[in-house]
């Protein structure tokens, strides 16, 4: 009888832990004001709202895709190679580095640079284990897909899904500060990549993408705000994010109106948006963004 009870309990635990998390969401979203986020408001953010904010951060895969469209060649110089996973002592450093290297992994995956991505994967593994989230990263499968070069989509899915699961786990377990650090790390490295490429290969599309980051800066600050008073490291990071916000202050994004055009094609629907966003950013403003991004990103990776 005892054996049967044990068996039933074990199966129940096994089944509940092996199911993919899914959520039924049924809430209204309030979009943040463009220029102000009181810290008190940020503290009141629900877990669900924070989860949504994290989805708004530009994926490094999208930036790498844009670089490929521009025919920008791959360069290892953009990577945060100086991060040594063994030297990360605090959870703050580990989580932030996990985000930075996650962005690098997205860049490497898109350019199918498998040799380097294996090195980065090893560092990611150590960092993830260091904050006890290694179980969400299927290193062996990602490594196999990376070496095979056969299925970029599966590789992207597994890499992105691992980060999504880590993010959710950290938030669900009251370790939201680490999740925020990871997301901020992803964004800073993606922004670094975009701005460094812009210096070497100026392009209007990339220039716009850099300017458009103003749209999500408030979200980024909101992610960090609840933890700004937590310790010296967080306080410094929050000041850095505020500096970035300041350098973007006079960048303007305007919109032109229009109705979407649609046409049926091969059983699907093709929509072309005629409404447009237009970035107004001077060369001086752009130079300021490039310089500040580099300074902050270098400081973060050299601190490690």
């Amino acid at each position: 009888m005892k054996g049967r009870l044990f068996f039933v309990l074990f199966i129940a635990i096994l089944m509940s832990s092996s199911c993919r998390n899914s959520s039924n969401k049924n809430s209204e979203f309030v979009f943040p004001e463009a220029d102000s986020i009181p810290v008190g408001e940020a503290e009141k953010l629900s877990t669900e709202a924070i989860e949504e904010i994290s989805k708004n951060i530009t994926s490094p895969v999208e930036i790498a895709n844009l670089l490929q469209l521009m025919a920008v060649p791959y360069s290892p110089d953009y990577l945060a190679s100086s991060i040594d996973a063994n030297k990360q002592t605090t959870a703050f450093d580990k989580a932030l580095s996990l985000g930075i290297l996650g962005a690098d992994l997205g860049y490497l995956n898109m350019y199918e640079k498998t040799g380097t991505s294996i090195d980065i994967l090893s560092s990611i593994r150590k960092l993830a284990e260091g904050i006890r989230v290694g179980q969400f990263f299927d290193f062996e499968t990602i490594k196999r897909l990376s070496l095979n070069k056969s299925n970029l989509d599966s590789l992207l899915f597994l890499s992105i899904d691992s980060y999504t699961q880590i993010d959710k786990y950290l938030r669900d377990n009251d370790r939201g500060q680490l999740s925020s650090l990871m997301i901020i790390g992803v964004w800073i490295e993606g922004q670094y990549l975009a701005t460094q490429v812009m210096k070497e290969y100026p392009d209007p599309m990339l220039r716009d993408r850099i300017g458009e980051q103003k749209i999500i800066l408030n979200d980024l600050i909101m992610l960090a705000s609840p933890y700004c008073g937590r310790d010296k490291e967080f306080n410094s990071l929050c000041r850095n994010l505020q500096e970035i916000k300041d350098v973007y202050r006079d960048v303007r994004i305007t919109y032109t109106l229009g109705e979407p055009e649609s046409v049926e094609e091969n059983g699907g629907l093709v929509i072309r948006q005629t409404e447009t966003s237009v970035v107004e950013m001077t060369n001086e403003q752009l130079a300021g963004i490039i310089e500040l991004t580099k300074r902050i990103r270098d400081k973060l990776i050299l601190n490690n």
């Binding site: 993408r209 919109y255 699907g268 966003s277």
Partner: protein, 144 residues
């Protein structure tokens, strides 16, 4: 007892094997349907019971979409789903950009290719037609 232990070992081995694959076959199959030139970005797993009243689409999620990017929004349903998954995309002013369900004709589109020309945060609204019970996934990819 021995019988149970053997069963447990088999189940554990199966669990390890399943972990090595994508965690949800519906998601991985749906990613495949997006086509060889597409690049996966995000997925939204939607599981809803029957709606008690007709109204707004119930599953809502935000996502930033960027100018000069062509996105593919694919919708896939699990075999046992009673309803068909649909998506309506709204911009940050709550203006509908597109819907995969044409209310006039009753036609649903399994995927939408959307060329974004206005960067911003968009609201994805998923539900099953007529608020039916269902299980499905929406996958967002980039296409050339």
């Amino acid at each position: 007892m021995k019988k149970y232990l053997i069963t447990l070992l088999i189940l554990l081995a199966a669990g390890v094997l399943v972990k090595g694959q994508a965690s949800d076959p519906l998601v991985s199959n749906c990613i495949t349907t997006a086509g060889p030139g597409s690049k996966y970005l995000k997925d939204f797993r939607v599981q809803l019971g029957k709606a008690s009243t007709a109204g707004d689409l119930r599953y809502k999620a935000q996502m930033s979409l960027w100018k000069n990017t062509k996105y593919r929004f694919s919708m896939c349903n699990s075999e046992d789903s009673k309803g068909k998954l649909i998506l309506t995309l709204k911009d940050d002013a709550n203006k509908t950009v597109f819907s995969s369900f044409d209310q006039k004709t009753g036609k649903t589109y399994p995927y939408i290719d959307f060329t974004c020309n206005k960067s911003g945060i968009y609201l994805l609204n998923y539900d099953f037609i007529d608020g039916q019970q269902g299980s499905g996934v929406g996958v967002v990819s980039m296409v050339k």
